[in-house]
Subunit: 678 residues, 2 copies
Amino acid sequence: MTSTPKSIIPATVNPDLQKERDGASFSSEEFAAWWSKGENVLKFNREVRAYMQKDVDQGEMLQLQAKSHVEINEFSQRSAIEAAQKLRRLQQERNPGGDDYWPKLYDHPVMWGLVPGGNPFGVMYVMLVKALQAQCTPEQYEEFGKRVERFEICGTYAQTELGHGTFLRGLETRADFDPKTDEFVLNTPKLSSYKWWPGGLGHSSNYCLVMAQLYINNQFKGPHMFFVQVRDEETFEPLPGVHIGDIGKKMGFIGVNNGFLGLKNVRIPRTRMLMRHAKVNADGTYVSSPTNVLTYFAMVRTRCVIAKNNAYVLAAASTIATRYSAVRRQSPINPKEREPQIMDHVTQQMKLFPEIATSLAYHLASDYLWNLYDVTLSDIENGKYERLPELHSLSCALKVTCSSDSAAGVERLRLGCGGHGYLSSSNMSNLYVLATAACTYEGENTVLLLQIGRFLMKSWRSALSGAPLAPTVQYLAEVQKNPDFGTWTGSWENMVKAMKYTAANKTRLAFKSLSARLSRGETEENAANHTGIEFTQAAELHGRAFVFSSFTDEVTGPKSKTRSASLNRVLENLLELYLVKETLNQMSNLLRFIQLTDTDLRILQDRLETVLTKLRPDAVAIVDGFDFSDLQLNSTLGSFDGNAYERMFDAALKTPMNQKSVPKSFNELLKPFMKSNI
Amino acid sequence: MTSTPKSIIPATVNPDLQKERDGASFSSEEFAAWWSKGENVLKFNREVRAYMQKDVDQGEMLQLQAKSHVEINEFSQRSAIEAAQKLRRLQQERNPGGDDYWPKLYDHPVMWGLVPGGNPFGVMYVMLVKALQAQCTPEQYEEFGKRVERFEICGTYAQTELGHGTFLRGLETRADFDPKTDEFVLNTPKLSSYKWWPGGLGHSSNYCLVMAQLYINNQFKGPHMFFVQVRDEETFEPLPGVHIGDIGKKMGFIGVNNGFLGLKNVRIPRTRMLMRHAKVNADGTYVSSPTNVLTYFAMVRTRCVIAKNNAYVLAAASTIATRYSAVRRQSPINPKEREPQIMDHVTQQMKLFPEIATSLAYHLASDYLWNLYDVTLSDIENGKYERLPELHSLSCALKVTCSSDSAAGVERLRLGCGGHGYLSSSNMSNLYVLATAACTYEGENTVLLLQIGRFLMKSWRSALSGAPLAPTVQYLAEVQKNPDFGTWTGSWENMVKAMKYTAANKTRLAFKSLSARLSRGETEENAANHTGIEFTQAAELHGRAFVFSSFTDEVTGPKSKTRSASLNRVLENLLELYLVKETLNQMSNLLRFIQLTDTDLRILQDRLETVLTKLRPDAVAIVDGFDFSDLQLNSTLGSFDGNAYERMFDAALKTPMNQKSVPKSFNELLKPFMKSNI
């Protein structure tokens, strides 16, 4: 290689990007405060982020994908530990004795970028500690829960097995009570019973919370949780009977150290079954749990987290692709003029702006979901469980639509970056694999849609009998009462109504198919399986109708009075784009139930093109308002300064391959081959 | 780790998979012969494959993704060289002096699995040699073309730059003729002019065919090709003025060693410009090419290759997901019965079977395209260029729809494997990144759709004026002549007609929008940009209408007489599924122009569910008929023996992470941290 200048990245902002910022019609700072739920929150997040990101070398983060699986895992463990230490120091500085920095922020988005391959202790803090808090007796929590919290021991939560994921009752790991020794004996009797997937299980845990089928005197008592030591605390060697390791490289979450666990006659004291609810006494008597609501509730919470996080992932990808589309110039629109910023091509706008709008839509829908979660939680504390099925169903619906829409959206945005989006240093592929993973983890999407479908069938039946419905399915009863849609006007309110109307009618048709199959003599189960496709379609529309309604409420509702007119105009444009593009996407469903003329459709197409034009001058300022730092984005294409080519090139120069001008294998491999006269 | 048995993979076929094979209604051998274009071809492919794959360790291939970028590249270079040597030996054994094995089969699908990260010499054999053959004078080919063919030197073809891809005229690399020394002086004047992306350029080439803008006396003569030495033949050190290296890790093609190239006053003899067509004489006079058709034609050929290859990629993913869906059992349909094979869930069938049908659809459409290619090639040799725009447009349309449908299809299939599809050892993610790459390389899909859109506008205008149209756009004139669709019957013929009718009407609407913009005074260029979304929609439907028609022709046409009744029944089921699901997918477009009643739609939904049921017993036998070897699939989930769990587990045990029970970093990293009382 010939010499290259020391730093090829300019210290200035790309003028094309600066021009976009200067020309925006609104304040991206106001947007950022709104997006973050208040100026104080925004300020707090930025301070914590600055503290955490200080002295972090982004160059190393950009090379992560070039490392081996072993190196990536070591790097991730090291980064995760350093991040914990930093947070802990921040806690000491700002609020000694509290827990508002450490560990509370350990899985917060401000951590993004510090562990770009994923945190091997993520499951420990997101799931294990919470499960222990919810399921341990006070004595148990004192004995080992606190030790996990203090990181004296490290662990994970193991439910999924090689042979079973979403179907909990199918789990094969068993725990047999032995009254002679007052112990449980744990076994994974077959290869398919091995625990498989838990994050951090491979080489980052010495304890594990194991979900296993409880047997007492060979009597089946259903799945329970057992806290099992798997490695020696001093040497980290696996304990006798424990077969443990990493499951190998994956598409993404490359640093998370997902693992497997086989157990062969592993004995633990009786007191290591979590006994806050169900209990096994020393004499082998079993006291069942008064309610299984809390287990249930933990899953609901995780799904709320997913909807929120995936909206962020989509917003991050939107930021990268939008900034890159402002600085890349290609293909003249008019051959006599300079090549335009690619964002001036209407087809490019169509790749970018709908995804920006979709990020907002799910961000807002998941706010609503979290509110419902809080209400339901306080209801439960007062012994009221009525809204739980609704919350369960809504959290599933948002988890499914948000994970699938965000994955597809990130990929469209990646493709919108052309070939350069294929580079690991763009980070677009990493964002994609993060987003798409959520389609299968924590309840596979199709399985969840089928569950929602069954809930809709039940709700439809209740409505037919005049029974009261939960608020978010109330629209089913309304459509039963008034089956005529009325006139299509194309107003926002009318579009929301149309999506609900379509969802209700899809539910009606699925119900009709189900009933027809039942009356033809099919069993309930076979009829449900055969109506599966219609179940999933109705369920998806149920989710979409909800997103329509929560987005519209936020933009047009009373909160608009707290925002400036210029910010409101931008939000209105994003709402308009979202409603119009989704309505067009779902048009084949709509047209089945609602009369739209050719003129109506023409108008929708015109509105789509008009609102793209309106959003064009504000696009960069909007994604600036998502307020990601360069390290959070970890992308050569999407940095704040817009120096995309220089950063791509700089990252290439630093890749390990280029540290020697001639690869060491040349003399043994390529040279003799070229001389061999093939 | 406790001990594990020596080989945990049974030597027997999983009984669930065997049951599927025993129960099929047709011969997968007959299918395989049909799919391969004849028994003799099938036999030949299998023999070559067996020879090439002998002694290859699949275990190492399954661990490829766990290696570092440097190791992957070295491994890929080594494997590619060994494969070349094997092919060469086969050539010697079977037909000494010929070229039908080496190098002809070097980029054939039988090579899949030997270089699972991609072949760093792929561009050399797929593009460079062909470009040299087409563009060199006989003397030039003798001087350096043959050297490449014999692998005495190695090289690649460099067109794309950091700042410009699809837009050729925007390329910035320049070659100035210096009559004093009879040389060209090559420069990449800016960072954005660096060549960027060529496969093998990083550290696997000592020569490079460079596309550069030719200047004589500062007079611009347009892009031409220059054969440039970039590294010393003996030492492999970059030559003076040459800045060369690898562009870093990518989402896929991880072993292809894509590179960058900067040139600073690099001088080459005048005779190193490829001069078969355009010429520069020693006195600086320029003789322009009599035709630019051949350059054009090379791009067309590559797009035909892509359509074919991506159909194979989708078929491979279908094979893996289908076999896995036969051996995995989960979630009882009836709680009293054993958990079913997941393929018995209707929603799972809906994930698998449409992609099998889509593989066939594009396989057959690209056959038609290759025929048109051959016809056009012989026309060109006779000086007739009439069908070239049609071929160009059709090859673009198939490249676009096949790349985007296959990518989306592979991802649906991957998701259909649940969490396990996320494991690198499933190979599903690798197939995905192969498929999706084709959406941006060799002409970014949206740019191509816009080109097709312009071709459709031109054709529509020609048809209005009564001018004759090329066969594949003849339907536009037919719809103009007879604008009434008539009655929807739902027959296959009627569905083909409906798709063409819809494509034609979308073209009509786009033409109307374009005309309205022009008559409002917009320039041709701005009007085209503003109508971009409609252009792309019409173009996509044009492609789909063609696939409908070629698939239907193959299944219902005279060739059906050469097949057994049982094979025909299977192909008819796949055609039925393809037409019905695609018609439903495009329903919002169809309903705009064609009257379908609610009953018609209900019938389509019923047909969809019926044909899924019909295909269920034959699914495994169909994918067996795609005839991939285990090494070609390179997947723990999709092997012929169906021992998915054992193979996943075996691959995990062999991952480098698990070669030590305690990671070496434990004592320096995790242990002190746990003791630190955080």
